[in-house]
């Protein structure tokens, strides 16, 4: 996930800066289009489907939240 975000959205940025708690949505790194691309990536990589109400800062605002959400969907 980290590699995907760095490559797709933050090319050339220092990987150290992308901490597990860095705010991606409230921090204005992921806008709606980027969020939908991330959703498509997660669906394809982890084999589950998002519902519309699951897309948002509550699940996708940082790497910790994304990991937790993906884990909960795979249970």
């Amino acid at each position: 996930m980290r590699a995907y975000i760095l490559k797709e959205f933050l090319p050339g940025e220092d990987p150290e800066q992308l901490t597990d708690s860095l705010s991606l949505i409230d921090g204005r790194i992921l806008d709606s289009l980027a969020t939908l691309r991330l959703v498509a990536f997660l669906e394809e990589a982890f084999g589950f489907e998002f519902a519309a109400h699951e897309v948002g800062a509550q699940n996708l605002d940082n790497l910790n939240l994304i990991a937790g959400f993906v884990a909960s969907k795979q249970k």
Binding site: L10, S32, L33, A52, H53, G56
Partner: protein
């Protein structure tokens, strides 16, 4: 050395202590309170709310974690009761709690939605006035602001269980404290509201961010006021290229009002631990149309994404990504248009429907959908706020920002105009541009360069997180700058023009342009003033229905096609501007009068506009009644034992209406004198009325007026603003013609023509200088009474009938009556001599050059 280390440790301990940080935060809030009071930001009710928030912040700061949410909920309830009073506050709370309870009844979700929808329809019927509600209409706008949209989000999150629910959370969410004062409130997301409360470890950083945003909001509001009070002009006033530029740019800049209010309100919520995100982010510098949509009103964008965009996208994405993106975008903009109208309904009681509103949202939808497709197929890199950005990318974004700013400025000016044709008419000056306008080119290029530099700076700056005390220093410095800019002492050192501009920073009311137009009942004609003009919108939300101008009151007055534009209905009575009015059998706001004056009774006919009519005060409190009573108490005028002043004044009358009503009604009652009350807006008054007559192709009985139309090349049926623009350079000539015509009609009937100049309480646009106005009157033959300075030295706000209406109140009328009475006494000799001339019809000639100076006779 050891001692220094100890000192440093002690200092650090003190600086980090809870009490010391509270003192630092509380001290800044005290400065904020001073600022609010100093600039009169958002009125006295907000001032009280700010004190309550300051006190609430203090309590909340020291409360244990579990007590904070209930405390905020209870404080919000207390705020509502304090602002609306126990009875109306209880109604508001009961209605709200009932709706919240309906969301939680133990029934399937669909059934609950149906019940809430049913309750909403019932409330909407009550709001529309079709059914009488047992509570005051004053609570509707706030109720609508709290529930009209938040209920949608609440139900959405309830359905998906997206956040924890409890009584205190719901209470805090719907009744959140600042909302009791701010009708225009950001659409706070329930999930975010719950998720962010007390979520950050260091609460003082959240509180400090709240103060930062409050200060930023205050900066926006002060800038907004500077722009609102000095920049707006009408399409009809656009006569050259600089004015076209001004006409196009001011509406978008007025959006600072919304961004300022939202920063202020969300900043207040942060003071109670709700660590909410930004509401706006440098929206004037958006580098693409999608970027603009993401930066302006971020809470609205998030609401739309959550409730409309993502559901639409996920439903359609199997049919193709691009299709889903475009349809989702159009769904969002349709919902935005409809829900703005829905909000408007709860604020005003009627839906907003303007063609330029529809055109604006459609145009924006097309631009954003196009940009979405571009971005979807050519993804752009994002940058960390702390990282460096390549120069090429920054320059490209800066030019993009300039392009977006120009496009949105154009769209916004169209949106804010009265109609699309009105907006388009302003561009007529482009055809008249010549080499004389070339000086404007370097000015425009200079402004563009400044804009590009600003865009580059904000794009390239690296935002490192600031420490607590650095944030304090930044906010404190901004507060001091604001306080200094508003200081009268500082302003007295500036040049006169600049100090006049800055002095208006303290004027919370309408600007001269809106005040002048509202005085003519202009905005009631539109009947759909939206939030693109925040000051007017605020007025129309709080103003009671009986403040509608008389031309919209068929129970009290009838409108005419020609002149006069309006006549009071004989014998009509009712409430107008919150006072009882009753018109006599001759259609005057006065007692009944015989057809002829009684022997030894001197009869004066008073003609003029609304203040002479005594708008907003009882008839016996108006200066007409006061002067009449005083003259009679003193034994009359000259050899006349009694005095009658017949009040023919009618709101909105211009010199053209006065001329017509004099012929139709006044002279039939055989007055000895005609007293015409005028204001500095009389010049624009005749221009507007003549433009209206030409536009409506109304019959005009005066050849002289039609001659003006021919000279100005205004044909019958011409667009009203275009006609007004053509007549404006001739306004003094038209006014002079009207005064001469009135004078001639007085002279032919041996009626002494008097003209009294009475100042308005507030400033107006389109003003003629007083010496010019009185010069025209004297040139026409009137004996003039100059009441300049009649309100001198007094706070105008204490002399006006309501916060939104600067007609004089009873105290104001007493001041005018004193001066008018004295002025009449000064010219008394000229008045009663009139009878000596009646036989030979020679009156008036000797009066031409006379005038009573300001303060004359007092």
């Amino acid at each position: 050395m050891a001692r220094t280390d100890a000192d440093t440790r002690l200092f650090a301990r003190v600086a980090d202590s809870t009490i010391f940080r509270y003192l630092v935060l509380g001290g800044q809030l005290a400065l904020v309170l001073w600022l609010i009071r100093w600039y009169k930001l958002e009125g006295q009710v907000f001032e009280k709310l700010a004190v309550l928030i300051w006190a609430g912040f203090t309590v909340n700061y020291f409360l244990p974690a579990r007590a904070r949410l209930p405390f905020f909920g209870l404080l919000s309830v207390f705020g509502i009761v304090a602002i609306f009073g126990p009875a109306q506050g209880a109604w508001l709370l009961t209605l709200g709690l009932t709706l919240i309870a309906l969301c939680h009844v133990p029934l399937p979700f669909g059934a609950r939605v149906a019940i809430v929808l049913g309750a909403g329809i019932l409330l909407a019927v009550l709001r529309s006035g079709r059914l009488a509600a047992p509570w005051s209409a004053a609570i509707w706008p706030v109720f609508g602001s709290m529930f009209a949209l938040r209920l949608v989000i609440y139900l959405y999150d309830l359905k998906h269980r997206g956040a924890p629910f409890s009584f205190w959370r719901s209470l805090a969410y719907f009744f959140m404290l600042p909302n009791a004062v701010f009708l225009l409130f950001p659409v706070v997301d329930y999930q975010t509201f719950s998720r962010t409360h007390d979520a950050e470890k260091d609460r003082t950083r959240v509180f400090q961010r709240g103060i930062d945003w409050i200060v930023r909001g205050a900066v926006h509001l002060v800038l907004y006021r500077l722009i609102y009070q000095n920049l707006p002009i009408d399409a009809s006033s656009v006569v050259d290229m600089p004015q076209l530029l001004r006409y196009l740019i001011w509406p978008f800049l007025l959006y600072l009002n919304v961004s300022g209010l939202f920063h202020l309100t969300v900043g207040m919520l942060l003071l109670f631990g709700f660590n909410l995100p930004e509401t706006h982010h440098l929206f004037y510098l958006a580098s693409s149309f999608t970027d603009f949509w993401r930066r302006i009103n971020i809470y609205w964008k998030d609401f739309m994404m959550k409730v409309f965009y993502y559901p639409a996208f996920f439903r359609l994405r199997r049919r193709g990504n691009n299709l889903a993106l475009v349809v989702g975008t159009f769904v969002v903009f349709f919902a935005t248009w409809f829900l703005h109208s829905w909000q408007f309904f709860w604020l005003r009681g009627s839906f907003l429907f303007k063609w330029n509103d529809i055109l604006f949202w459609t145009s924006l939808a097309v631009l954003v959908a196009g940009a979405v497709l571009l971005e979807a197929n050519r993804p752009m890199a994002r940058r960390l706020a702390t990282g460096e950005k390549p120069w090429g990318e920054s320059v490209r974004k800066a030019f993009g920002a300039l392009g977006v700013f120009v496009a949105i400025t154009l769209l916004w000016s169209m949106w804010s105009s009265d109609s699309v044709t009105d907006w388009a008419s302003a561009f007529a000056v482009v055809r008249q541009a010549d080499s004389g306008d070339l000086w404007l080119l370097p000015v425009v290029l200079g402004l563009a360069a400044v804009f590009l530099l600003a865009a580059l700076y904000f794009e390239r700056r690296q935002q490192k997180p600031l420490g607590f005390y650095r944030q304090v220093a930044r906010s404190g410095a901004m507060l001091l700058v604001l306080l200094l800019a508003g200081s009268y002492r500082v302003q007295s050192h500036l040049d006169k023009d600049m100090s006049v501009v800055l002095a208006r920073l303290h004027s919370p009311g309408l600007n001269p342009r809106d005040a002048a137009k509202r005085q003519r009942g202009y905005y009631e004609k539109l009947n759909d003033v939206g939030w693109e003009n925040p000051e007017l919108a605020k007025i129309y939300v709080v103003r009671p229905p009986d403040w509608d101008p008389l031309q919209y009151r068929p129970d009290l007055a009838k409108t005419n096609e020609g002149l006069p534009y309006l006549e009071l209905l004989p014998g009509a009575q009712g409430r107008f501007t919150s006072v009882a009015v009753r018109f006599n059998g001759q259609g005057m706001r006065d007692r009944e009068y015989s057809r002829q004056p009684e022997p030894r009774t001197y009869r004066i006919a008073l003609v003029g506009p609304s203040d002479a009519f005594a708008t907003g005060v009882a008839q016996e409190e108006g200066y007409e009644a006061l002067v009449e009573e005083r003259l009679n108490r003193e034994g009359g005028l000259g050899s006349y034992e009694r005095v009658e002043i017949l009040n023919f004044a009618t709101p909105g009358y211009t010199a053209l209406d006065v001329l017509a009503v004099a012929e139709r009604k006044v002279f039939a009652l055989q007055p000895h004198a005609l007293l015409y009350v005028v204001h500095v807006t009389d010049g624009q008054g005749v221009v507007s009325r003549l433009a209206q007559l030409m536009h409506t192709q109304a019959p005009v009985a005066y050849g002289g007026l039609m001659q003006f139309a021919r000279e100005a090349r205004v044909d019958p049926g011409a667009e009203e603003n275009t006609a007004a623009r053509a007549f404006t350079p001739r306004r003094e000539a038209i006014l002079s013609w009207a005064y001469r015509e009135l004078f001639e009609r007085c002279r032919s009937r041996s009626v002494v023509p008097l003209m009294a100049y009475v100042p308005l309480l507030g400033p107006r646009d389109f003003d003629l200088p007083v010496p010019t106005l009185l010069g025209i009157a004297r040139g026409a033959g009137f004996l003039t009474l100059d009441l300049s300075g009649v309100y001198g030295g007094r706070d105008p706000e204490k002399l006006q009938i309501a916060a939104w209406d600067d007609h004089p109140n009873a105290a104001g009328h007493r001041l005018v009556a004193d001066r008018l009475h004295a002025a009449i006494r000064t010219v008394e000799g000229s008045l009663w001599r009139r009878d000596e001339h009646r036989a030979d019809q020679g009156t008036g000639a000797r009066l031409h050059s006379q005038g009573v100076p300001p303060g004359g006779g007092s």
